[in-house]
């Protein structure tokens, strides 16, 4: 009792802190070291599949921001041809309603979170950007993609690269 009053807890705390020095450090060294995001991530871009899209514009109606612009014309066999498909990622709130509403599963979330630009107008993604083959599709609302994606790295499971 008396021992505990005389700073026993303080000493105990000191040694707890000292022990924690031997533990793995949880800081992520960002540019050198990147974590794998969740398989179902809603990241900062949309990926569009032109083959599946029928140009029905359900995504446009679903968008609460009124952010997606689509322009279609009648093609040779009386089907829509999408001429313009744009999403202003600077105004997008990444709610995912467009992805969820797409009846033909033509719209996906991407997995990239490194989307910073110097100008706002560079954030407007057009057809070329949304169909670019480098973009990875997220499994958000597309469970069939789930198993093909790499597992998320949680900080506790992470293999540490030692950078000093």
């Amino acid at each position: 009792m008396a021992l505990k009053l005389a700073g026993y807890g303080l000493m105990q705390g000191l040694f707890v802190v000292l022990k924690s020095m031997t533990r793995k450090r949880i800081t992520e060294q960002y540019p050198e070291e990147r974590l794998t995001v969740s398989r179902r991530t809603r990241a900062q871009e949309l990926v569009w599949d032109p083959d599946r899209c029928t140009g029905c514009a359900t995504c446009v109606k679903a968008c609460p921001q009124g952010n997606i612009k689509i322009k279609t014309s009648i093609g040779p066999d009386n089907k829509y041809v999408v001429e313009k498909f744009e999403n202003d990622e600077g105004r997008c709130i990444f709610c995912g309603l467009c992805v969820e509403s797409c009846p033909y599963e033509a719209l996906f979330f991407g997995r990239s979170y490194e989307r910073s630009q110097y100008q706002r107008n560079q954030l407007v993604a057009d057809i070329d950007e949304m169909t670019s083959p480098e973009k990875e599709k997220s499994a958000y609302y597309r469970p069939e993609l789930y198993d093909s994606l790499p597992e998320q790295t949680l900080l506790i499971y992470r293999k540490h690269k030692r950078i000093l």
Binding site: A6, G7, G9, L14, K24, L164
Partner: protein
């Protein structure tokens, strides 16, 4: 007195000329040359060690919080303090419109100067220093050190900001309270060593006074934490409560002076602890100056360790701890040390375990009687 010809003719060992005391007219048989050399050396050295301390604190506290610490600027982040210094010097110097301009301007200067003055009497190794053998060395340190209280209050008052004033009032109350057990702990050292000169105190320590006078050591260390406004006594610049205390209205160069003063204060308090209790520059194998630096960083490492661990005390806990715990115990400690010195002079080796036992019994016993108002009782 050492001249260059002596060094050349006597074929010295590597650290020979560093080991011997330097007279107060080295070099050139002129005190002012001595003064100039050591003043410049101390100012440059203090600035360098301040940067080293800032880097050391950030790198040392990082693994305790499972982080890595600064590692981008230069190898191992060594240039980070340099970059920070450049940044802070280039910032705009803002003076509040309603501030007391003169007081506001003088406070950062007045907080740094006494710290520099205190370095004058510290022996960095055997007899090397500006005036390490000053016969009132410790008195000089206690006297000059109390000027800082005025500077802190000037900063808080001159800023014309209520948070700054609250911080400054807390600071003055704390510094005045903790000066007393601090001086009493130092007096115990003076009684045993029989001298006020810092050089003399180091020479007297055949066994480090931290072992011979453990209670004085613990009390001095605690009071030094309070004087430095470090955790657990950092409530006067508590970021979460009163933002930054008395230097909230300072920016740019003046803020840098406060920061510099804070870390220079950490150096000088570590240096005083090293000199009074850890046998100064004495040590085997390595050159004495290296020993001094190692001990300096070890003491500061303890302070950083405390910062990483302990919570902040309340203002009433702080005051009661100073007046009801530390002050009576330092007086009792002083009495015991005085009796021991009268009965067994020179000091005997077997007093070391005896004093450690006495300290443990007194600290725990008094802690049993010591109750704080409010909160829940520990271990009840």
């Amino acid at each position: 007195m050492i001249s260059l010809t002596d060094i050349a003719t006597q074929a010295p060992v590597a650290s020979w000329w560093l080991d011997s005391p330097v007279s107060s007219d080295w070099p050139c048989h002129n005190f002012w040359a001595h003064w100039a050399v050591f003043s410049a050396g101390i100012i440059i050295g203090v600035l360098l060690v301040v940067m080293a301390f800032i880097w050391f604190e950030r790198r040392f506290i990082a693994p305790m919080q499972l982080r890595i610490g600064p590692n981008r600027c230069g190898p191992f982040g060594l240039l980070q303090p340099v970059a920070d210094a450049i940044k802070v010097l280039m910032k705009e110097d803002i003076v509040p419109a309603v501030a007391d301009k003169t007081v506001h301007f003088l406070a950062p200067i007045l907080i740094f100067v006494p710290v520099l003055l205190m370095f004058a009497v510290i022996p960095f190794q055997n007899g090397v220093g500006l005036i390490p053998d000053l016969n009132v060395g410790l008195l000089f340190i206690v006297a000059v050190g109390s000027i800082e209280t005025v500077a802190v209050f000037m900063a808080g008052y001159g800023s014309n900001n209520k948070y700054a004033l609250v911080g400054a009032m807390r600071s003055v109350a704390m510094m005045v309270s903790y000066e007393m057990p601090m001086a009493l702990a130092a007096i115990a050292v003076i009684i045993v060593s029989g001298t006020l000169s810092m050089q003399g105190i180091v020479m007297e320590q055949s066994v480090p006074f931290a072992l011979l006078l453990p209670m004085s050591f613990i009390f001095y260390f605690t009071c030094a934490l309070a004087e430095l406004q470090r955790t657990p006594f950092d409530l006067l610049e508590a970021e979460s409560e009163i933002i930054a205390g008395y230097h909230i209205e300072y920016s740019g160069m003046k803020f840098a002076m406060f920061y510099l003063g804070e870390y220079a204060g950490a150096i000088i308090q570590s240096a005083i602890i090293v000199t009074l209790f850890l046998s100064g520059w004495k040590g085997p194998i390595l050159p004495p100056f290296v020993w001094f630096l190692i001990k300096l960083f070890a003491v500061f490492g303890m302070i950083v360790w405390f910062r990483a661990t302990w919570p902040r005390v309340r203002i009433d806990q702080l005051m009661e701890f100073a007046w009801k715990y530390m002050l009576p115990l330092s007086l009792i400690n002083l009495l015991i040390v005085a009796i021991e010195t009268i009965l067994w002079d020179p000091v005997q080796w077997w007093l070391v375990p005896v004093n450690i036992v006495i300290t443990a019994v007194l600290l725990t016993g008094w802690a049993g009687m010591f109750k704080l108002r409010g909160g829940s009782e520990v271990g009840a």
